[in-house]
Symmetry: C3
Subunit: 157 residues, 3 copies
Amino acid sequence: MPIAPSVRLGRNVAIHHPDLVNLYGCVVGDDTKIGAFVEIQKNATIGRLCKISSHTFVCEGVSIEDEVFVGHGVMFINDRLPRATANAGLQTEADWTVVPTRVKRGASIGSGAVIMCGVTIGERALVGAGAVVTHDVPPDAVVAGVPARVMAREASR
Amino acid sequence: MPIAPSVRLGRNVAIHHPDLVNLYGCVVGDDTKIGAFVEIQKNATIGRLCKISSHTFVCEGVSIEDEVFVGHGVMFINDRLPRATANAGLQTEADWTVVPTRVKRGASIGSGAVIMCGVTIGERALVGAGAVVTHDVPPDAVVAGVPARVMAREASR
Amino acid sequence: MPIAPSVRLGRNVAIHHPDLVNLYGCVVGDDTKIGAFVEIQKNATIGRLCKISSHTFVCEGVSIEDEVFVGHGVMFINDRLPRATANAGLQTEADWTVVPTRVKRGASIGSGAVIMCGVTIGERALVGAGAVVTHDVPPDAVVAGVPARVMAREASR
């Protein structure tokens, strides 16, 4: 079941290939569009009028507000020091704390970007393609690079 | 329909997992091989004798000539300033101009590379794995890094 | 057949979406968990108690020991100078030598990392998200960046 019954979809959500996504336990707002090969985990929230492009991974703890563009192949993170095991078994949810990430209204995240956990990407900010975001991004700022640095205080319109 | 009827496939195109790709409105040349979890959008053109490796996204406006290697998880781009919305609705095709990208004959693009729109990657050039290409790549050159810079004028054979 | 008959799975391997992976000719150890949109090629070996997260590509020649965490969208490589063609046809296995890569026990690889072929990632080492690893990583070290450099000699616990 690539779209699990636990998913709460708003009205008019466009998922053209429901057999090629993996969504469970998440909330997706009205009029949002989700591409192929996207995984969205439980306790992730996507707002209204967003585009979540193909090959993107949205993990638990990520909250995306309305009108956000997420490019292709974007990876979110919720664990700063991931390990496979704890106490001689695979780690379970009891073994780590989800570090939340927020993407605020109208922001855009370029394709191939990696978003470290614990950051807030400000309203209308623009994250360049391939950037690795390790700190908060101010509203309206343009960031790029590895690690991402502010390239411009205000995105051109 | 992961391979839409609008796709024009040449002879002897190898797609081992047609149920795990998303191809629509594109042209793919003879003898080309396409991996799993690949999306190729409408108005993208792939030449003959190419390898398009798994997890790669080829967007509208990308033109790939013959004998090109595209690694795994490569992301092409066609919009320099992507936004989710315009005029209080999701953006549609009327709201942006596709910026074309060309990959010329015999070039190779390493896995995980991100190719900004508007560039030309020259004949036989080699783009290093994980590079973010923001400018044209001369023929035969080797580029790498974020942003990609010329590492060598001529790829070793 | 997204999990080919040639795959040798250990006991208690968790693959929640067998229809959304592409595994062939590989070995996967007991109690390992494999996410959606993962491809693992022939002659790749995954140990016990590993997590191979969504969107990751593990190629031929990669050997992952026990208790290794591989994040989302991680790309392994086995060819330093990939080309699509040789002798006027698509390259076949006869045309290149697989360069092996080793990930040792207890290591963790962050999401979006790219691992160049021929490297060894040491025991318990931590590769930062989005890093491009081009050299060996010492045991216990933390590396990050493009190309990846040592950030700390010992990962915090």
